[in-house]
């Protein structure tokens, strides 16, 4: 490892980071040294091992304490009142009446919250918008207070769909207009019209994707407590430092007086990336009453105003030569965002997935009178891939070509959007290994599969028809700076990895301990990751964009290498050698090529109370490479052509995310993404009442997520090698990618089974029957 002399090269430089599919330029502090990369030749024993989750015992015994489990002496319970209309205004409310209800301590309505919180407006712009709040010594009393508040509303004309919001004379969703600034967003390379003229075959389709709801089983929640002018918030969040920044800004207090803690959270999936109404309500009531306050969303609020993946309509045109070589890809997409949000655009994947000289995307983002979108696992890419991959499958059918062969033909060796190399790319290995294990392409030609084979298909007279389909995936996910970590060796040689990051259930706690133990030559049992507290831990960013492992992992490794260096410097004189003569393994310092050794503990005890603290930070990404994770998924389905019911029989998923720190936990992430993708494909769709704009399925019964009974045999695995160009751990992000190709793979299998395309997800029975009816009517 090379150390950068202090005051030598530049300390602060700019680097480019991909976050949730968007590119951001950031300033980064250059690390003091950069450890040699763990390339494929590196001999690692703890990194790459299938060790159990570090917090598994807490989780299986019910001892893991989540936000809603925090109970403080004198704690009050807060409840948020929400607008029952899509647009209009609140005309009356009675805070005094609410406060008079027994058990109620406080209530707030329009005008009662600081401006920075943006809480409780009088103008309503979506159904479910917070308009008031009550806090009481029990939730039942708070509910009584809410009724006493007697809110009344005046509804006006609203626009809850893209068509309604973009029609001439549409009601204004936002004062500045209903189109997001910069819409339509156009990006192109080459000449699509010329490319289409060159094509032998052109397919044009319109695809529609639904609003998908994150539906974490743990609703959003916060507990707030003030001690003097210092505020502590326990929050179920993917970003403790972001919550701290937002709360400090909204309440106009210094960040140093806000402490945000998150030890366990019950799922995030992109919906828990910052402070929200419940956070401010808890903090404000706690300040006003002088007592701790807990505010947890109801399931109805969670399903109606806690984030969503926006719907899209994508008009796709693809041209190709007879041999399958793409000549043009064009997409025009409409995205209704809700009252707020950002351009998590479906167009990007069209520019990146395949080698094609002529590509154009045009995306129009509109504000509508509905709850704001938020990042949802692979935002933009899951939506865009349904359009692009479905169109590729339609093109394969038109060409009479195997869809896998079509993709191999158009594999791109470089990032075609940015004209630079990938840091690593094993997509072709994903194709080959996925196809092999699935037995692609179909029943007639299938090789034996390692997946349990479902019983043979029924005779041709049966209404049950089987089909197979596949789709591919890419997701830019290199992580990046800034991220800091410290490694502390305690007097008894137990080791703490300190990093202000979050474990969403992804396994960050486990992975950071593995990385640090490997780098130190320590036993894994001696190493513990301490995370989730802004007051005591060094900064890391949000756990979004599949960024935690490739961002915090290298910082933890560097901190561990730094601590190891100090440990060796302390051990060398004790062993009468130079530090360079020493190596470490199993929490022991050994003199190379001899049998002389000391345990870490013998060294630290000899140091007395001197504490070894290693410091690490995440360096910049390579400037000349695009870092992305790739994959291919294969699906077999059975469709009942009499009822339209689709059953997925099996899924095979092959992904490349560089080095895998813990294959067991990584495969769990793949399965999780695939299962959410299966829900997206088959069931999940937010439904708003066209007459009122109010959501009709704001629960977990009518908004249906997959149950254990819906899930087929899944064989999910990784191919590929350590990506030493991405960062010095060789790991890329992997949690979001698996959701991307599942829906188009399932849709392709349905088309294969019934001989008709269903170009709108979810693939509900009535959509399948309608597609069958149209096909027969032709």
């Amino acid at each position: 490892m090379a150390r950068r002399p202090r005051g030598g090269a530049r300390t602060f430089v700019k680097t480019v980071v991909e976050v949730e599919g968007r590119t951001e330029e950031r300033v980064v502090e250059m690390p003091a040294f950069e450890p040699a990369a763990w390339d494929d030749a590196a001999s690692l024993t703890i990194v790459g091992a299938r060790v159990p989750r570090a917090d598994a015992v807490e989780k299986v015994t019910g001892r893991a304490r989540y936000t809603a489990d925090i109970a403080l002496p004198g704690m009050l319970h807060a409840l948020i009142l929400r607008a029952p209309i899509a647009r209009g205004r609140i005309t009356s409310w009675n805070v005094a009446a609410a406060r008079a209800v027994p058990g109620v301590l406080d209530a707030m309505g329009p005008g009662d919250a600081p401006r920075g919180t943006r809480l409780f407006p009088t103008d309503i712009s979506y159904a479910g918008q917070p308009v008031a709040a009550v806090c009481a010594d029990s939730l039942a009393a708070a509910a009584a207070g809410a009724r006493a508040m007697a809110t009344k509303f005046e509804a006006t004309e609203f626009a809850a769909t893209f068509a309604a919001a973009t029609a001439p004379g549409a009601p204004l969703v936002r004062k500045k207009g209903n189109l997001m600034e910069g819409s339509p967003v156009v990006e192109q390379r080459g000449d699509v019209e010329a490319g289409l003229r060159e094509a032998d075959v052109v397919v044009a389709r319109e695809y529609r994707t639904p609003v998908q709801l994150h539906s974490a089983i743990e609703p959003h929640g916060a507990v707030a407590e003030w001690e003097g002018d210092r505020l502590t918030i326990w929050e179920s969040t993917q970003g403790i430092f972001r919550v701290r920044e937002q709360v400090a800004a909204a309440l106009e207090i210094p960040q140093s007086k806000v402490r945000v803690i998150k030890q366990y959270m019950g799922g995030g999936f992109g919906a828990k990336n910052g402070a929200a109404a419940h956070t401010y309500v808890a903090a404000l009531f706690a300040r006003r009453t002088g007592r701790p306050v807990r505010c947890v969303l109801s399931r109805r609020a969670e399903q109606s105003d806690a984030g969503n993946r926006p719907a899209t309509t994508q008009r796709v045109t693809i041209g190709a030569k007879k041999n399958g070589v793409l000549t043009a890809i064009a997409v025009s997409a409409d995205v209704p965002l809700g009252v707020g949000g950002w351009e998590g655009g479906p167009g990007q994947v069209y520019h990146e997935m395949y080698a094609c000289p002529n590509v154009r995307s045009e995306e129009t983002f509109a504000y509508v009178n509905a709850s704001a979108m938020q990042a949802f696992r692979a935002p933009g890419y899951a939506e865009g891939a349904f359009g692009l991959e479905s169109a590729m499958n339609a093109l394969a059918r038109e060409l009479g070509m195997d869809p896998l062969a079509l993709r191999r033909k158009n594999f791109t060796r470089i990032d075609p959007r940015r004209s630079r190399n990938w840091s690593g790319n094993a997509l072709r290995e994903c194709y080959e290994e996925g196809a092999r294990r699935f037995g692609w392409p179909g029943p007639a030609k299938r090789a034996p599969s390692s997946v349990t084979r479902p019983p043979s298909p029924a005779p041709s007279s049966s209404p049950l028809k089987r089909g197979v389909g596949m789709a591919a995936q890419l997701w830019p996910t290199g992580g990046g700076p800034p991220s800091y970590a410290h490694v502390r060796i305690n007097k008894d040689a137990s080791i703490d990895v300190l990093a202000g990051t979050q474990d969403l259930g992804t396994g960050a706690r486990t992975l950071l301990a593995q990385v640090a133990a490997e780098a130190m030559g320590a036993r894994l049992d001696d190493v513990r990751a301490v995370i989730g507290d802004t007051e005591t831990l060094p900064y890391t960013g949000n756990s979004w964009g599949s960024m935690t492992t490739p961002s915090v992992g290298p910082a933890a490794r560097m901190a561990a290498e730094d601590a190891r260096r100090l440990l060796l410097e302390a051990a060398a004189p004790l062993l009468g050698v130079e530090p360079g003569d020493l190596e470490t393994r199993d929490s022991r310092v050994m003199v190379r090529d001899t049998d002389r050794a000391m345990t870490f503990r013998e060294v630290t005890e000899a140091l007395g109370d001197v504490m070894i603290i290693g410091r690490g930070s995440r360096g910049p990404n390579p400037e000349d490479r695009t870092i992305a994770t790739f994959g291919a998924q294969f699906a077999e389905v059975e469709v009942d052509v009499e009822t339209g019911v689709v059953r997925v029989l099996r899924l095979v998923a092959a992904h490349d995310a560089g080095r895998i720190i813990n294959p067991t936990l990584a495969e769990s992430q793949l399965e999780g993404g695939i299962i959410q993708g299966l829900g997206y494909a088959l069931f999940e769709e937010r439904v708003l009442d066209p007459a009122t704009g109010v959501q009709l399925n704001a629960d977990l019964h009518d908004y249906r997520i997959p149950t254990i009974a819906d899930v087929p045999h899944i064989e999910a695995f990784f191919v590929g090698e350590s990506d030493a160009r991405a960062n010095h751990t060789g790991a890329r992000g992997l949690a979001e990618p698996p959701i991307i190709p599942t829906a188009p793979a399932i849709a392709a299998a349905v088309a294969d089974a019934i001989g008709a395309e269903v170009n709108q997800i979810p693939l509900t029975p009535w959509r399948v029957l309608a597609a069958l009816g149209n096909a027969q009517g032709r």
């Binding site: 159990p52 989750r53 917090d55 598994a56 015992v57 807490e58 989780k59 299986v60 015994t61 019910g62 001892r63 893991a64 304490r65 989540y66 809603a68 489990d69 109970a71 029990s138 939730l139 039942a140 994150h214 539906s215 974490a216 089983i217 743990e218 609703p219 366990y264 959270m265 019950g266 799922g267 999936f269 947890v296 109801s298 399931r299 969403l504 259930g505 992804t506 396994g507 067991t664 936990l665 769990s668 992430q669 399965e671 999780g672 993404g673 695939i674 299962i675 959410q676 629960d699 977990l700 019964h701 997520i705 997959p706 149950t707 254990i708 009974a709 899930v711 045999h713 899944i714």
Partner: protein, 168 residues
């Protein structure tokens, strides 16, 4: 009213309309059973009441007078205080918990299943466990964990769940 919770007698007075989940969570500080929906859709609050699988968010606390309640905390004490049950060990070994929020309910439902059907078919597992939602997508691992316990991979149950009228 009198309640036996995880083998210990408890005397308390529930508020009118109070649900068992609130009573366990807020009064007894047994926070293993989780609030997920409050309306019997997700199963995160699953406990055993007199040996029956129960959504504690729906059960009226008053109606549980005299009942024996088993929560996740009653399956086994965490090490080093006591051994985990085979199902708990299998959930760890097969990585059947991601965020872990639904896990207590899943474990109670799986415990109930195996106490009635020690060698369930995969279809039986899917049916029996379909009242417990998991958004992280641990289902394949839950099936694998239950099957492993049924195969005896994790030994005999360390503490069978007592069920009145059926013997332990």
């Amino acid at each position: 009213m009198l309640l036996t919770v995880n083998g210990r007698p408890v005397e308390l007075t529930p508020a009118p309309g109070e649900r068992l989940l609130t009573l366990l969570h807020e009064r007894l500080h047994l926070t293993g059973a989780k609030f997920g929906c409050g309306q019997g859709e997700c199963g995160a609050c699953t406990v055993l009441v007199n040996g029956r699988l129960t959504y504690s968010c729906l059960a009226l606390a008053e109606a549980c007078d005299g009942a024996e309640v088993t929560t996740i905390e009653g399956l086994a004490a965490a090490p080093p205080h006591g051994p985990l049950t085979p199902l708990q060990r299998a959930f760890i070994a097969y990585d059947a918990a991601q965020c872990g929020y639904c896990t207590p309910g899943q474990l109670i439902a799986a415990t109930y299943l195996l106490s009635h059907d020690p060698a369930p078919s995969e279809d039986s597992i899917r049916t029996a466990m379909s009242g417990n939602l998991c958004r992280c997508g641990t289902y394949p691992k839950i099936i694998a964990a239950i099957q492993a316990v049924a195969r005896g991979e994790f030994g005999a149950p360390t503490r069978p769940v007592a069920e009145p009228g059926r013997g332990a």
